[in-house]
Amino acid sequence: MLPEKHLLRCLLGLMLWLPATWVYADAVQVGSKNFNESYILAEIIAQRLEAAGLDVERRYGLGGTLICFEALQAGEIDLYVEYTGTLSQVVLGTPDVNGVSALDALIAERGLMLLAPLGFNNTYAIAVPRALAVEKGLKRIGDLAAHPELRVVVSHEFLEREDGWRGLARAYGLGTEVKGIEHGLAYQAMQAGSIQVTDAYSTDGELEQYDLVILDDDQGYFPEYLAVPLARRTLPAVAVDALSALSGTIDDRQMQTMNARVVFGGLSFAEVANDFLVARNLAPERSSGSTMLTDLRRNTAQHLKLTGAALLTAVLVGIGVSLVVFRAPLASRAVIYFCGLLQTVPSIALLALLIPVLGIGVAPAILALFLYSLLPILRNTITALTTIDPTLVRVAIAMGLSRRQQLRYVYLPLSLPSMFAGIRTAAVISIGTATLAAFIGAGGLGDPIVTGLALNDVGLILQGAVPAALLAVVTELVFEALERWLIPGHLR
């Protein structure tokens, strides 16, 4: 068989492996951050919009405030629920501006608007176990100053934001050492005793469940955090009308209850949101039939789409670049080092870095996965091309093959096994890394993992983690079979 047939079959195999469909819908894109309450509110909005006859696409679990806001500005999503305090302090950097109408005026020039507040104030709070509060006599936040030995661990976001721990510590003169943790894990760690003080949201369902008390913010440090739908001004009037019915309908206690029903009652966001809307006659009752299989199918397809697109691009670029540089040792080394450097950027950081450039969603996720896939492909290809038996290279030149023919008849076919091994490694890495894409709204099997983390729900985490692991194994096997088919036995 001629070597070019190997290559053709190789490409064909990859393309078959790629899922074929890319679905785009002209729908209202509803976003949410990656914590419990944000999901519930997003789902309330989504179902309300659907009740008004609109098509809705759910872009939930976006990894944090800035990602959500960037996504909104970039038009990746049409609205999500923000808190007034977060908007003024973190997003706009104008801590003095308070009140919905003042903020609304401020964001108008960015093409955004605030709808009517939903009713409750979910401000930050500092929580400690009741027993500890009694033992140490902790009532107010200021009381912590006398107990620097307490283990303070707060959510990463709270640790970093200006109106978070730093400002709080300044205001109350707290010198305690502080560490960061994923918010969803904090309560569990607290119950296990490894955390004694953490940040909480005043509407968290966990407060009651874990018997925690909120320390009094007697200096009024935490600003108001009214929950308000934040939307693009292009949001259709019919949607704005539909959402005005939600104005002032949720108070603090109700929000706590809804949060608890999801976290401890095992209900889905959709069910809790639906119960809320049905009770107020704002949406029809929905059958809560199991959606696990449909979710799994959709998430798996999305996962394959992300990794497939990234891998195919990485194969084309990786092999292309290798062919250009491999005859120059210096350039080869530079390329490999550069890709190695990319590999050391933590994936979640890389995703976040790409947001200002590409926004959220599929494009930055594919770019990040592409960058991670490059190294194994490049390294294997360049190594294979530069370590071909020098006698064969000498013969190829001496017998009168042009450079192109040397590549096509000698270098490429002889490098194929190693190249293929690199692609295989890249595929497995991509499948693992793609679970993180859910943090920037690209979907995939990371979706249930991100939601599960927000809910501290191991079952939900496994719904993403197990299929992702299986997918990696299946990919291994598929590639093994492809390799057997593509590469003749005496070259393996």
């Binding site: 038996d389 006698t391 064969l392 000498r394 001496a398 017998m399 009168g400």
Partner: protein, 243 residues
């Protein structure tokens, strides 16, 4: 008879302080086999690489069939057959694909390729089914014969052999020598054979070039060199290897 290769005051070095070839002037007869003999590092392989323009001389000129080396190196090299120690067959191609690669690239008719392949295999004493097998399935001696078939496929006027017989065992080597002599005469191809084996040189060649440290120790018809060694070095070399 005309010369197949001429060297005119050729210098070549990879390291400026240690020239590999020094002021080499040499004319090699066409239609016959010339053996280039010398110890390791004497410059024999470099001499061969100057002929098919894999290397260029620092000074002096190399002419092949009385022409300077043309700018189109690829086309030029296809007129020159090349075979190396260990054969250097491409492991991912069958033996037949190895032999016929250049003919296919040159756009030969399928039937002509088939005929030429069969002729060469037969001349080299290889059975036709060897063509469909891979190099790894053959013995070293068989691979070397396939390598010679590949070098001869395009009916080159000049054949460059870089120690093609040295990696096989002595009995196989004798068989290879016979085959090669038969084919060389049959095809009438001018041959440059690089070897460090004086017996092989004397047996296969009509002209002998003895290199020592990049210079010619002696060059001439085999019988002349054997009868009148030009120096102590040559006579020791002859005695040491031929007894």
């Amino acid at each position: 008879m005309a010369d197949c290769v001429r060297f005119d005051g050729v210098w070549k070095s990879y390291d400026p302080d240690r020239p590999v070839l020094r002021d080499l002037t040499l004319a090699l007869p066409a239609g016959a086999t010339t053996a280039i003999v010398g110890e390791s590092g004497s410059g024999k392989t470099t001499l061969l690489q100057l002929v098919n323009a894999v290397e260029a001389p620092d000074r002096g000129e190399v002419r092949v069939f009385d022409e300077p080396i043309p700018p189109d190196r690829v086309a030029f090299r296809r007129q020159i057959g090349y075979s190396v120690q260990g054969a250097g067959l491409f492991p991912h191609m069958t033996n037949g694909e190895n032999v016929t690669l250049l003919a296919r690239l040159e756009g030969w008719e399928h039937a002509a390729i088939r005929r030429r392949l069969e002729t060469l295999l037969e001349q080299m004493g290889l059975s036709p089914d060897v063509a469909d097998r891979f190099p790894a399935e053959l013995s070293g001696g068989q691979q070397q014969r396939v390598g010679l078939c590949r070098a001869l496929m395009l009916k080159p006027r000049l054949l460059l052999l870089d120690e093609p017989f040295s990696a096989v065992d002595p009995i196989t080597r004798v068989g290879l020598h016979e085959r090669f002599r038969h084919v060389q005469v049959h095809e009438g191809v001018s041959t440059l054979l690089v070897t460090h084996d004086m017996r092989e040189a004397v047996k296969l060649a009509t002209t002998l070039v003895i290199l020592r440290d990049g210079e010619i120790a002696q060059a001439g018809p085999v019988a002349d060199v054997l009868a009148y060694p030009a120096s102590e070095y040559v006579s020791e070399l002859l005695q040491g290897q031929l007894g």
